[in-house]
Symmetry: C2
Subunit: 110 residues, 2 copies
DNA sequence: TATAAAAGAAACCAAATGGTTTCATATTGG
DNA sequence: CCAATATGAAACCATTTGGTTTCTTTTATA
């Protein structure tokens, strides 16, 4: 009967949009109110508020109601779902990119 | 001249759809023709073909034309872009989830 | 050489997405 | 208390998305 469709909060969908990824980048630096986030983008506040809703539906943003403003705070934990999914494919990355990745990680031998 | 606008092949968008993620999982096991992929899903072949196009636009699938059939092969390399983006946030993951991720990674060999 | 198989292409559709503007509500400060 | 502030909510819109069906083209093969 599939009793609870419940709409799996889709973190993959949440990060699909570049604006939302930029918002996450902002929130990684500091928690911000809706208005403060909106100031940094060339779109209306309601548009930004919708993006924030998608992000909080995906569990990536937590909202602290503080008087008349809502403070949006990054919760990166759900990104682990994506990392977990990616891990399946790590064996398929080609040598060049594996090397690049290792360089980035500071593991430069040979 | 900005010679090649080239439409940044959006790998984030490519993996946003669960059907497309499932297709990538299939192709990780073996390269498949369009029809072979479509057989595994409860949707029409053209629908699957469209998903494959999004994946190849995102660089995640390479097509080898072989007679009248097109063999679709996983190219996981662009997933490194996602891994790179994720790396920014690794400092924000809590210990429990880091442990979970490592567990998932360990399952690969079994 | 017909015919069947594999896929592409096009037209179409409903729903979701990403944006807008306008209005309503709650909270704070003077 | 009243005005300004911060946000939510609703209505609306255009485009994209994810799917369909139907038709065409290409290629292999009996």
């Amino acid at each position: 009967m599939t009793p609870n469709p419940v709409q799996a909060p889709d973190v993959f969908r949440a990060i699909a949009d570049p604006t939302r990824r930029a918002i996450l980048g902002l929130l990684a630096e500091q928690a911000l109110s809706v208005g403060d986030v909106a100031e940094r983008f060339e779109m209306s506040r309601p548009a930004v508020a919708k993006h924030l809703k998608v992000l909080s539906d995906g569990g990536l943003v937590e909202v602290e109601v503080r008087g008349r403003s809502r403070i949006n705070r990054l919760n990166a934990a759900p990104l682990a779902d994506i990392a977990g999914w990616l891990a399946r494919f790590e064996g398929f990355w080609d040598d060049k990119l594996t090397a690049l990745k290792q360089e980035v990680e500071g593991e430069n031998d040979q």
